[in-house]
Amino acid sequence: MPETKRKHRDETNHRRGHSKPNRNSRKKKKTGPRLPSSLQKELDRLNPTAPIDSDQDIDSADGDGAERELLPQDFYEYEEQQAEEESKKNKRYDPGSVDQIQYDLPIERSDESEDEIIQSDDDNDDDDDDDGMRMTGDAADDDSSEEGDGRHTRMLQGITGMPSEAFEGKKKRKMKDDGIPELYPESEYNPSRDVVDGDGQISIDDLLNPLQDNPGFGKLRKRIQQIENNSKAIHAPLRTADQAKVERKAAYEISKKEVTKWQQIIQRNREAPTLLFDENIDLGFSTVGAIASEFEPRTEFERKMAALVSDDKVMEAYKKDGSRLLEMNTVSVEEEKDRQSRIAKMRSLLFRHELKAKRIKKIKSKTYHRLLKKDRLKTEYSKIQMDPEVAKEFAMKQERLRAEERMTLRHKNQNRWAKRILTRGLNSQDEGTRAAIAEQLQRHSELTRKMHSMKDSSSSSDGDDEDAGSDQDMGSKVLGKAIEKTMKVIQDDDETPKSGLLSLPFMRRGLEKNKAAAIEEANLALQEYKDSKKKLENSVGSEGPEATSISGRRVFGASKTQISDAGNKVKSDYNYGSSDSEDDLRASKNGNIETQRSNILQKDVNTDPVLIQEDTDNHQESVFKDFNEIVKNPGPKTTYEVSLFVSDTWKKAGNRDEKGTNVKKSAMPSGSVRQDRKDTEKEVEEDSDTDSEGQMVDRILTSGSKLSYELPSQEELIRQAFAGDDLEDEFEKDKMEILNAENPEPEKPVLLPGWGQWTHVQKKKGLPSWMLKEHENAWKKREEAIKKRKDAQLKNVIISEKLDKKAEKLHTKALPFPFTSKEAFEQSMRVPIGPESNPATAIGALNRPEVVKRPGVIIKPIQFEEVNPHEKPEERRGDKHRSKKNKGSGGRSMKKTSA
C-alpha cells in the first residue's frame, strides 16, 4: 500500500515534468563525457534506431554496462565541473544549462525501492530499462514529430561540438521566455521562473555536485549513478476509478491477510468442548477477618472506641483478668472424668431407649399396636393393684363411671338399637346380635356392681377347688390335685391364644418353644405323680384294655414291649401343637430322656389316662384321646413307619421315603386315620420303595411290546409322537395370517346400491372399469409386496416387517448432522452421564455445557493472542491455578471478562 501510494505520487510528479526533458536528460547524461564529436555522431546515428529494439540487449549489457560507465564517470568529474561552472555562470543567459539541471530530475526516484521495479515489471512490459542509450516509450511517441528537430540538433552539434541539449533548450526557452522580465534578482526567496514553473526544479544532482570535489563521496556517487541507470520511464496514470479499484483490491488483500491471523483462534474455540467466560473475577475480600483488618475509624465515636480498644492499659487489664478467670476455672481430673462417664451413660441409655422406641415405632402392624395398647392397659391394671395411690384414683374414676351409668342407664337397653331389637324379639335375632346385647348388659352390670363384689369374684375359684377336693382322702387327693394341675398346665399349653399380643405368629413361635420345655417337665412330673399314686392305690393295671375300649381304637402290636412307648408317645404328642421341623430335634431329645425313665415306667402307665380322662372336660377330650391313644399304642418302630406310608400323601412323599430320614414323621397323619388304614397299608409297605418306578417301567414296557419288537426309526418315532398335530399346516396358516395382516387384501369394489344406476343399462354394465383396474392394481401391489418380503423365499421363517411403533420413537430417521457414521452416533450416547452411574468427580466434566458464563459478568470481545497450533490447550495456560481448574474440562477459557 505505501508503495502504491508513493508510486502514485511519483507518477503525478513525473507527469509534470515532460517526456521530452526526460529523454534529454538521458542523453545529456550519456553525452556528458565529452566524446570526440565524430564518435558522438556515430552514437547518435545508431541510437535512433535503438530505442524500440531489444530488452535482452540491455539486460545482458547491464552488468558490464555498469562497469563501462564507471570509467567515463571518472573522467567527467572534471568535465562536468566545467559544465556546472558554465551553468552557474550563464544561469540567466544560457538556458541550456538550466535545462541540463532540470532534466536530471528523475533523481527523485532514487528513493524508489526494488519493489517498485518489480511491480512495474508486471505492470508494463513495454516499459523498458535502458542504459540511457535509448529513448523511452514516451519519447518514441514524440519521435516522429521531432524527427526534424533531432536532425537539426545533430547538425548544430556537429558544427559547434556542444551537446545537443543546449540547442533544444534554447529553442524551448525562447518559447517560454516571451518577455516577462525578472523584477528581483534571483535568490532563494525569489526563485527564478524556471524553478517556479517546475522546469528549474532543484535536483539531487544540484545538491551533489558541490560534493564532487570532496573525497569520500565516491560511493554515494556510484550508487546514484546506478540508480539513474536502472531507472525507467513512468507509466501513464490510470483513470481515478481504476486507480481506486486497484487500491481497494490491494487493500483487501492486505486486510484479508491481516484478518486471517484469527483463523487459528477461531478454529480452536469452535472445537473446544467448552468455552469458559467466567474467569478472572476478583471479588475482593471474602472473609470477615480480611474486611475487619481494613477497618479504619472515621467518625468521632468510632475513633473513641478504637482508642479504647487499642489502649494499652485496658488491654493489660483485660489480659490479667482473663488469666485470673482461667485460674478459677480449674476442675480436677477425676471430677471431669466422672462427669463425662455420667454423661456417657446417660447418653447411651437415651440412645438405647431411642433405638427401641424407633424400632417399635417402625412396626407397622395395626394389630400389634392395638395389642400393645391392651397390654399397657393391663399393666396399668396391675399397677392399680400394686399402688394404693393409683388404685385410689382408679377407684374414683370407676366410681364416676358407675354413677354415670346408674344415671344414664346407657347400657341397659336404653338406646334405640337395643330397643328395636327387643321389640322384634331377641329370639329372632342372630347369634351376633344376641351376643352384643348380652355383652352390653354385662357391661352394665359390671359398671353398676359395687367395688367389693369385684374382689369376691377373684377369690371364688379357689374356694371351689377346695370344695371339690374335699371328698377324697388326703394322699390321693393331693396327688390327684397335682396331676390335675399338671394336666391343666399341659392342656393350657395346647390352647393357643386366639387373640392378644400372643396370637401374633412370631410371638406364638417363641411361646411354643417355651411351651415345649414346660410340657416336657410337666410330663415328667405327671409320671412321677402317677407312679406314686399307683403305689398308694396298689391297684393292678387292668384298666388299660378298658381304656382302649372306651376310646374305641384298635391297637396294633400292643403285645410288644412298652419300653419304647414313652419315646413314641412324646413324639406323637409334639406333633399336635408344633410345626414339623422342630419335631425331630425334640423327639430325639425326648427319646433319650424317656428311655432313661423307661425302666421305671411299666405297663401300668396305661391305667392313668383313664383316670385323667374321667376328670377332664368334654371339650378337651380330643386332646386327651390322642394322648391316651399314643400312650396306649406303643407299637414298635417298624409299624410306626409303615403307618407313615399309609397316609394319603405317600405318593408325594415317595421320593423322600427312600432317604429314610426322620422327616417322614412329620408327614404323619392324625392317629385315627393311621389306625383305620393300617391293615391295608401293611402289604404296600413291603415294596413301597420301588413301587412307583416299577409301575412306570411296567407301563412303557407293555405298550412297547404290544406294537412291535422292532425298534422304529427316529423319524417314525417323531412322526408317531406328533401324529395328531399338523404343525406345518399350522405354521403356514400363521404365516398367511401375518402376511395378510401386514399386507391387507384390497377390498372388493362395491357399488353403492342405487348409485349411478338410473337405468337397467347401467346396471348391466356392472362395475366401472377404473374401479376394476384399481382393484387389480391393488392386488398386484400386494403380491409384489409379498414377493419383496424378506421371508418370501424362506419357507419355514416368518420375518415380521411390521414397524414397532414404540421402538420407532427411539430411532432417528436419518443420521443427524454432526455425525458421520451410524456407529459414531450410537457411540455418542452409549455411556450414561448421570450421577447414578458416574462418580462425582467425573460428572462435572461429562455434563459441562458448551458455554460457561456467569450471569452479571460482562463478556468483552475477543483479543488477539498468539496461538501455537501444535500446542495442547492446557500447556498454553500461564498460571497454575487456572490450568488446574480446567484440567477436567478441556475447555477453552476466554479471558476477556470483567466483573
Binding site: A244, T812, P849
Partner: protein
C-alpha cells in the same frame, strides 16, 4: 477360615463438620444398571417437557417513549444501563433492573437513528435525521448526578452539524473513533468537530455501520443500493463491496470470531459471511417471514438475536440454518432494534409500539441465585437433552412453538412458494440439456456480485 472384611480408615470417614455429607460408595458397574440408557432417555424427555413448562421468557416492558423505538445502545461497562432513541428525537437511559427511565437526553429535532456508547462508557453518541451528531457525557458519576437532580435533563457535550441526515452510528472498540453513516461514511474523533475521514463508494446512502469489536479497524456498512461494504481504517480505504438482491438492514460482527459477520437482510433471512470470502455466505439463517430489521450477537459469539418486521424476535445459533427460539407477544409491534445484554443472558428489544422489552435469552432459564446442586441438575438436564435431541420425540417437543396466526400462515405460504420454485427449477433442469441449467445454492443465490 478366611473372612473378608471391609477395612476403612477412620480418617476418610470422619466428617469435619456435621453439615458435611457422608461418604457414599456406589458400584458403577454398568452391568448392574442395564436400563440406564432408557432411564436417561426418559429423563431427557422430561427435561424437554420441563423446559416447556418453565419457558417464561418475557420479563417486562419498559414504556416511556412516545414514539417507536428506533435504536438502542448498551453501555459496555454497565450491565443494567441501556440507551434507547425514539423516532420523536427522545433519548432515554433505562435501568434494566428496575425497568425505569434514569434520565433523558433531549435535543434531537427529528428521529434519532443511531446511538452508540464509547468503550469506557463515558461518551454517548447519537445521530439522527436532523443532520446532527450529538455527544453526551454519560460517565457514571454524571448519570448519578443527573438521576438525582430534579430537572432530569442533560446538555450535550458537543453537537456537530452535517449536511445530510445520519442514519447510523457506531463506536470503535477501545478508541476515540466513531463512524456515522448517511450520505457517506464519516469517521469522527471525539475531540474534533469535523469528520477525520469520509468515504463514499457508490451514490446511495449508507444505512448501517458496525465496527468489528475484535479487529477494531475493520468496519462494515450496508447501503441502500443493496450493498455490503467493508472498510479498513488502517488503509484508510474501502476494501470490498458485495451486492445482494435485497438490501441489508443491519450488520453484526461476531465478537468472538472477528472474521465473521452476519447481515440482516430485507428478504427475511440472515446471511453469515466470512469477510475474506464474500462470494458465498457461510450460512443462511432462515425463519423470519418479513424483513429482519436488526441483529445483535451474543457476547459469547455462539448465538445472535434478530428483530424483525414480522413482530417477532428470534434467536439463532451462529451456525444453524433455523432459529432455536422465537419470542412474540400480542402487543409487540414491528421490532426495530434488538440488543443482547453484556453478559449474554438477557435480550432487549425495541419496537414500534414505543416499548422496550426485556427477555431472557434462554426462555426457561432459572433466574436468581442458583445453588450448586441446582446448577448441576440444570447442567445434567442440558447434557442429556443435547444427547437425545435427535430422537424424534424429544426433537418434536423441543421444536414445538406456538406462533401467532399471521406468522404461521406466512411461514406456510413462504414454504409453499419456495417449494414451488424448487419444483419448477427441478423440472426445468429435467427438461433441458444436461448441464445447461445449474442451480445455485441458497448461500450464493442471493448474491449478485462482488465489486472490487
Amino acid at each position: 477360615m478366611k473372612v473378608k472384611v471391609i477395612s476403612r480408615s477412620v480418617d476418610d470417614f470422619t466428617r469435619e463438620r456435621s453439615q458435611d455429607l457422608q461418604r457414599v460408595f456406589r458400584n458403577y458397574d454398568p452391568s448392574l444398571r442395564t436400563q440406564e440408557k432408557a432411564v436417561e432417555y426418559v429423563r431427557a424427555l422430561n427435561a424437554v417437557k420441563l423446559d416447556k413448562i418453565f419457558a417464561r421468557p418475557f420479563i417486562g416492558a419498559m414504556d416511556g417513549h412516545i414514539d417507536g423505538v428506533s435504536c438502542m445502545a448498551k453501555n459496555p461497562t454497565q450491565l443494567k444501563w441501556i440507551f434507547s432513541g425514539a423516532m420523536d428525537g427522545d433519548i432515554r437511559l433505562w435501568d434494566i433492573a428496575s425497568r425505569r427511565t434514569v434520565c433523558q437526553f433531549p435535543g434531537h429535532q427529528g428521529a434519532v437513528r443511531g446511538l452508540t456508547v464509547s468503550t469506557d462508557g463515558r461518551m454517548l453518541v447519537s445521530c439522527g435525521t436532523d443532520c446532527t451528531v450529538r455527544l453526551w457525557n454519560t460517565s457514571a458519576d454524571n448519570i448519578m448526578e443527573l438521576s438525582n437532580s430534579t430537572k432530569n435533563s442533560v446538555e450535550p457535550a458537543s453537537v456537530h452539524v452535517g449536511k445530510n441526515a445520519y442514519l447510523a452510528v457506531d463506536h470503535q472498540w477501545d478508541s476515540e473513533l466513531f463512524a456515522t453513516a448517511g450520505a457517506q461514511l464519516d469517521i469522527w474523533n471525539h475531540n474534533r468537530s469535523e469528520p477525520i475521514n469520509s468515504f463514499q463508494w457508490g451514490s446511495d446512502s449508507v444505512i448501517s455501520v458496525r465496527f468489528n469489536p475484535g479487529e477494531p479497524n475493520l468496519l462494515a456498512t450496508s447501503a441502500n443500493d443493496r450493498s455490503i461494504m467493508l472498510y479498513d481504517l488502517r488503509m484508510v480505504s474501502p476494501v470490498r463491496k458485495m451486492i445482494m438482491m435485497t438490501k441489508t438492514n443491519s450488520i453484526a460482527w461476531n465478537p468472538m470470531e472477528p472474521i465473521n459477520f452476519t447481515a440482516a437482510n430485507e428478504d427475511g433471512n440472515c446471511y453469515s459471511y466470512d469477510a475474506r470470502k464474500l462470494d458465498e455466505a457461510k450460512c443462511v439463517h432462515r425463519d423470519h417471514v418479513s424483513a429482519v430489521m436488526d441483529i445483535d450477537y451474543s457476547p459469547t459469539g455462539r448465538e445472535f438475536v434478530t428483530g424483525s418486521y414480522d413482530r417477532t424476535v428470534r434467536f439463532f445459533y451462529y451456525n444453524s440454518g433455523h432459529s432455536r427460539e422465537i419470542y412474540h407477544t400480542k402487543r409487540m409491534q414491528r421490532v426495530f432494534c434488538v440488543k443482547f445484554s453484556g453478559d449474554g443472558s438477557y435480550v432487549i428489544s425495541g419496537s414500534d409500539d414505543t416499548n422496550l422489552r426485556l427477555w431472557k435469552a434462554k426462555a426457561s432459564e432459572q433466574l436468581g441465585v442458583v445453588l450448586p446442586r441446582e446448577r448441576k441438575k440444570h447442567e445434567y438436564h442440558a447434557a442429556i437433552k443435547k444427547r437425545y435431541m435427535h430422537l424424534p420425540e424429544v426433537k418434536r417437543i423441543e421444536r414445538h412453538r406456538h406462533l401467532p396466526k399471521p406468522i404461521y400462515k406466512a411461514a406456510t405460504l413462504m414454504r409453499a412458494m419456495s417449494d414451488a420454485r424448487k419444483r419448477k427449477e427441478e423440472r426445468r433442469k429435467a427438461h433441458s440439456a444436461p448441464g445447461s441449467v445449474t442451480t445455485q445454492p441458497l448461500r450464493r443465490r442471493r448474491i449478485i456480485k462482488e465489486v472490487e
